[in-house]
């Protein structure tokens, strides 16, 4: 019998269920996260305009650099201040 040593982390990354999507946005705060990708602001500005026009509260957030994961403080701030988050993922 051959015994091999496991080269992996021996753990599966935690997969967490997403929160259920809200039926409506009225009364909720929507976070718009700009990850600092070029033209992400164009997309998010338009969403901001549309959502604000519908009377929905919008808050804006921004990652300092697209090259690195978001700092923990931004995650926590969004979790505290908003109910829904939309991020501009690509160029």
């Amino acid at each position: 019998m051959t015994i091999l040593l496991d080269p992996t982390a021996e753990s599966n990354p935690t997969s967490r269920e997403r929160l259920a999507r809200p039926d409506r946005l009225e009364g909720l705060t929507v976070a718009l996260l700009d990850i600092s990708k070029p033209r992400g602001d164009v997309f998010l500005d338009r969403l901001d305009e549309r959502l604000s026009g519908m009377g929905i509260a919008v808050k804006r957030y921004m990652k300092p650099t697209v090259a690195k994961p978001a700092p923990l403080a931004i995650y926590q701030q969004i979790a505290l201040e908003a109910h829904v988050v939309i991020e501009g993922l690509a160029d």
């Binding site: 019998m1 091999l4 040593l5 753990s11």
Partner: protein, 492 residues
């Protein structure tokens, strides 16, 4: 996956050890053991001597009470390193031992004077069989003394180890060497570092990368134990937050870690810095770079089309590692640019891709050659994109000769190249020449730089013939907010 615990193994042979008396461990293959055979006979005649033989159960013929330890269980338990070893036991405890033939020491341990009168006073012993390379690892496994903590994966008798590893997703697409306990223990002999030491947090899953887990992946990559310190330094470098390995992995761009090795370790492990340095054919070059990639894949969980979002990737993501030809260079090694003194072994990692050739067979002055090289450098990513990325210029010997003869330092070459890659923005604006890609209109009238001030590196490598240098382009996110090149010292 199966789990199995390593069970400590107590061989019945240990019951043959005397509570009080003398023990000798010998092998026929050792001239000093054969020399001492008459002495062993003398001591045996006095009673209270047990002789364990490591290779030939018939040796020494002169002693009746000899025990076959060809399985080496007793030798291992007694920690024998040299044969012959003579040990005095008292109340079951080892109260004194000597090795080799040293009459005075043998007289003291045995309590008998005048033994071996016909022998010289001293003869060194030989290495014991139980500590021979390959044997010690097997004994540690048999006795459950490996100290390794990785999960055991048992393969069925009819299971092909290579196929099993492919199926488990451990491979980069090429066959990997099965990481058996023996191989991993031998690999760990390449470093004095504790297998439990954490080298860094490995993205994307931010898993603590231990020396043991890295050694397992180094085995799979095909490394020899003496490469392990270089692999560990390279892993330490890519896991340095300044390198931003998560981003380098997750980007849609082409890049992966490029590993450049400096210092004495290059020659100690036989790396290639000369002909075809960036190509195939050298085990150390090939497997060190591959080990780094396997660490990211297996420990960190970074896989193509998962967190690795590369659009095309590049062949260097199998392995991208080479040594600088310091001996042939008129310049200081790359590692010194990062503060590591010359003569100290070090690795530098750079988020790079591919190789863009710089073909110039006509320039014989440094002015001409730098202009020529700058033209190629301006083309990285797209001739219209400024700034582009960091870049590594790999200067071949015949190009370096031109700089050497003119007395140009590396700093001079870098300064000239920076100047020659700073250009007016206007011809590069979006839409000019009917090309949409380019600089934004706000840049009109300005001078733009292809590289940030520290964004160019020079390495000397390659074969003696051919005026062909190379450019390793980088990620479009250079510098402190993206990926910085990182150097780490290679530690034993």
């Amino acid at each position: 996956m199966d789990r199995s615990e390593t069970r400590p193994h107590t061989p019945p042979m240990l019951n043959t050890l005397p509570r009080d008396g003398l023990v000798a461990v010998v092998k026929r293959d050792c001239p000093t053991c054969t020399l001492t055979a008459p002495v062993l006979a003398e001591l045996a005649a006095q009673g209270g001597l047990v002789v364990y033989t490591q290779d030939d159960p018939g040796f020494p013929e002169s002693v009746a009470e000899r025990i076959d330890d060809t399985a080496l269980d007793v030798s291992h338990r007694l920690g024998i390193e040299i044969v012959p070893t003579l040990i005095r036991f008292q109340d079951g405890q080892d109260v004194g031992r000597t090795y080799g033939w040293d009459r005075a020491a043998w007289e003291r341990i045995s309590g008998f004077q005048g033994i071996g009168a016909a022998l010289p006073a001293f003869r060194p012993g030989c290495g014991a069989k139980n500590v021979e390379p390959g044997v010690l690892e097997k004994l540690k496994i048999r006795f459950g003394e490996t100290g390794l903590t990785a999960r055991h994966i048992e393969l069925g008798d009819d299971e092909d180890a290579f196929e099993a590893m492919f199926e488990r997703g451990w491979s980069d697409g090429l066959p990997v060497v099965p990481p058996t306990q023996e191989r991993v223990l031998r690999m760990l002999n390449g470093t004095a570092r504790d297998p439990a030491e954490v080298i860094g947090l490995c993205p994307p899953n931010l898993i603590p990368a231990t020396v043991e887990k890295i050694a397992i992946n180094a085995v799979m990559a095909g490394c020899k134990p003496e490469y392990l310190p270089v692999v560990l330094a390279a892993v330490e470098a890519v896991l340095d937050p300044a390198f931003a390995m998560h981003g380098v992995l997750a980007t849609t761009m082409f890049v992966g870690p490029v590993v450049v090795v400096n210092g004495p370790v290059r020659r100690q492990i036989g790396m290639n810095a000369k002909g075809n340095a960036l190509g195939q054919g050298n085990r150390a070059n090939a497997t060190i770079g591959r080990a780094v990639q396997l660490v990211i894949r297996n420990i960190g969980g970074g896989r193509p089309q998962e967190v690795d979002r590369a659009t095309l990737g590049n062949p260097g993501k199998y392995t991208y590692c080479f040594a600088e030809d310091e001996e042939g260079s008129c310049w200081e090694p790359l590692s010194t640019d990062f503060g590591i003194p010359r003569g100290v072994s070090a690795v530098t990692v750079f988020a790079g891709f591919g190789l863009q050739g710089v073909v110039d067979q006509k320039s014989r002055t440094p002015e001409s050659l730098t202009r020529s090289m700058a033209g190629s450098l301006r083309a990285i990513h797209n001739p219209r994109l400024y700034p582009a990325c960091d870049a590594m210029l790999v200067v071949c010997p015949e190009h370096e000769r031109t700089f050497r003869q003119a007395g140009w330092t590396k700093q001079r070459v870098l300064a000239e190249l920076q100047a020659l890659t700073a250009v007016p923005a206007d011809p590069l604006l979006r839409g000019v020449d009917g090309i949409a890609e380019g600089l934004p209109p706000t840049m009109a009238g300005k001078t733009v730089h292809k590289f940030r001030p520290d964004g160019l590196m020079i390495v000397r490598a390659g074969g003696g013939a051919g005026m062909f240098s190379g450019i390793i382009g980088g990620w479009a996110m250079p510098g402190p907010t993206g990926s910085l090149p990182v150097s780490k010292e290679v530690r034993a």
